[in-house]
């Protein structure tokens, strides 16, 4: 098994088709061209003697070349977040050296004298040739490491998640080979260092579907590119969809009739955003995809039909489905367990465990967190309803334990967001002498509202233990660039007495 095989197949079946296009520069590469480039660069990587191939850049045509060349040469591919500080990037590079690095021209300049790195920018990587004319054969060993991804570390130092070829191959095989029509095009705006960015490359190549890369996200530009490129499908994180919806304010429709499918994930989607988006994109099918880096991306999906049914229904259970992340994809099993590892009944909140061939659950230096029966603890909290639909509460580490009672921040945030004056809410635990932990909320408001009003609002809708003891008004809640709420920052604000 090797991800390079998928590129070989696409080049064989649809060699002339455009594989990737960079919307920023207008450059493109065909499947046959990509195959040839990956082959040539695999030899360069092989000769370099590097242990890893690190990529620190925005989306561009060298990204798929580096990914497939790495797989081909048997060196792990390590995309690193280019937005991190120099010190943070240095610390990560130290964990993967001696490394072959492809980055922007400025960083190349700064690093060019390091003897533990072979460093290229986009252009020099394109120009570099191997010493020999050998054509290497890739390994089909399923256990070879394909990708190392540093997790976003919203709670601590980044962990290096390991994905072996068998995990990524198993994920990609969920799709049908060559199933895309010639006019299909996926708009990829998620950054290259996000698991969704890697998944999009693999599944698009396997389906022989053109990818249009958009290096930076800005809603009006996104809409323009989607229109000009005849985009048929795309993946967005919730903050992107929220900003697209916002920029369409006052319009009746997004006017993108070619856009057949929008999938979203990577964070909690506010209900008002998805409802508005479904109005603005009447011809588009919406899918909620839930997955983790450690599971090679998507493990559950809430499909278009469920979206439509939920919005049209007056039955509260069916309506609630819109907040579910759906049912497991083929080959994936889900279990909800308590702190002791015992399986829980439906509708009971606990930790989400997942099992399947695409689940890696392994970290460099830490080892595998998958148990003997193949189950991986996601550290996400949630429950499954009577029909098997999965609902997320947030990170298990975020659960607030108040006087021995487990409270889900997500549920309290949902209630707060339903108040007409509240645009967004973040609920965290704060130290309490009386309860151990107490509920605290930071809210973003659209109109002035008092703390007391919001407290009674929560009291009307939930048990009194859920009512925030403290509420702060923030101009903007902290999210990372892929739409994850940085609860840690909110928590710090309540932990520090000087800020209240």
């Amino acid at each position: 098994m090797n991800i390079a095989l998928f590129l070989e197949m696409a080049a064989e079946a649809q060699g002339d088709r455009v594989a990737f296009k960079d919307a920023l520069t207008g450059e493109s590469i065909s499947f046959a061209g990509l195959y040839k480039a990956a082959q040539a660069k695999s030899q360069v990587l092989h000769e370099s003697g590097a242990s890893h191939c690190a990529l620190i850049d925005t989306s561009n045509l060298t990204i798929p070349v580096a990914l497939f060349a790495s797989g081909w040469s048997g060196i792990p591919y390590v995309p690193i977040n280019y937005r991190l500080t120099t010190d943070e990037i240095d610390a990560l590079i130290d964990r993967v050296k001696p490394a072959f690095v492809v980055t922007d021209a400025e960083r190349r300049e700064a690093w060019v004298d390091r003897d533990d790195l072979i460093i290229h920018d986009r252009q020099s990587f394109r120009d570099v040739h191997a010493q020999s004319d050998d054509i290497a054969h890739w390994s089909m060993e399923p256990d070879d490491v394909a990708v190392v991804l540093f997790t976003s570390g919203t709670t601590g130092a980044p962990k290096a998640a390991i994905m072996r070829h068998r995990h990524l191959v198993s994920y990609t095989l969920m799709m049908d080979f060559g199933s895309a029509d010639e006019d299909e095009a996926a708009l990829v705006t998620v950054p290259p260092y996000h698991i969704a960015g890697i998944a999009a490359i693999l599944t698009s190549v396997y389906q022989c579907r053109r990818v249009v890369q958009l290096a930076t996200f800005e809603p009006d530009n996104w809409l323009r590119v989607a229109r000009e490129e005849g985009i048929t499908s795309t993946f967005v994180v919730p903050t992107m969809l929220a900003r697209i919806v916002e920029s369409l304010e006052g319009q009746r429709s997004a006017n993108l009739p070619n856009l057949q499918a929008i999938s979203y994930g990577g964070g909690k989607m506010p209900l008002n955003v998805i409802r508005k988006a479904m109005d603005l994109f009447p011809d588009t099918e919406f899918t909620n995809a839930y997955g983790l880096t450690e599971t090679s991306s998507t493990i559950t999906v809430l499909g278009p039909e469920e979206h439509r049914t939920a919005v049209a229904s007056i039955d509260p259970t069916t309506q609630k489905r819109l907040t579910s992340v759906g049912l497991p994809v083929p080959g994936i099993e889900i279990a909800i367990r308590d702190d002791e590892g015992r399986d829980l009944a439906t509708n009971v909140h606990g930790e989400i465990f997942v099992r399947g061939d695409q689940v890696s659950g392994e970290y460099e230096g830490i080892g595998s967190r998958v148990d003997d029966d193949g189950w991986f603890p996601t550290r996400d909290a949630g429950y499954v309803d009577d029909d098997g639909y999965l609902f997320l509460d947030g990170r298990a580490d975020d659960v607030i334990v108040r006087g021995g009672e487990n409270l889900s921040p997500g549920e309290i945030e949902d209630v707060l967001r339903d108040h007409e004056c509240v645009r967004d809410a973040a609920v965290v635990g704060m130290p309490s002498e009386e309860w151990g932990e107490a509920v605290a909320a930071a809210v973003e408001v659209s109109h002035d509202v008092s703390v007391e009003t919001l407290q009674s609002w929560v009291r009307e809708h939930m048990r009194s233990s859920r009512v925030p003891e403290q509420i702060q008004f923030w101009d903007e809640l902290p999210y990372n660039e892929t739409g994850k709420l940085l609860r840690r920052i909110v928590k710090e604000a309540f932990a520090d007495p000087s800020s209240t």
């Binding site: 098994m1 079946a13 060993e141 080979f177 998944a199 999938s263």
Partner: protein
């Protein structure tokens, strides 16, 4: 007769077909394409396709035994058809998934 390992790539000896093993049962079995045994380093010029096993393979299709224990992915198409112990493999029907990326 040979045992097959997950991830292994095999070639036909009588046509251009190549496959990758997605899953395989334990133990030996006789995997043929076009009526001739497949091999890892085979060249495809050592004979002709048996007319009884000539319905061809399609790139990207998945081929399975009746019980589903053996599953192969066709990575290069050819004129021969795949068979185990003399029984032709079937194309596995795919499940339609919503687009997720």
């Amino acid at each position: 007769m040979a045992s097959l390992a997950t991830g292994q790539r095999l070639k036909s000896t009588v046509c251009t077909t190549e496959i990758m093993v997605i899953s395989a049962p334990e133990g030996d079995l006789e995997l043929t394409c076009g009526g001739a045994l497949m091999g890892a380093d085979a060249s495809n010029d050592s004979g002709s396709v048996d007319p009884d096993f000539a319905s061809g393979t399609t790139i990207g299709k998945r081929y399975v035994t009746e019980d589903g224990d053996l599953e192969l992915l066709c990575v290069k198409p050819g004129d021969g058809s795949l068979a185990v112990n003399g029984t032709e493999l079937k194309i596995k029907e795919s499940k339609k998934l919503p687009k997720t990326d």
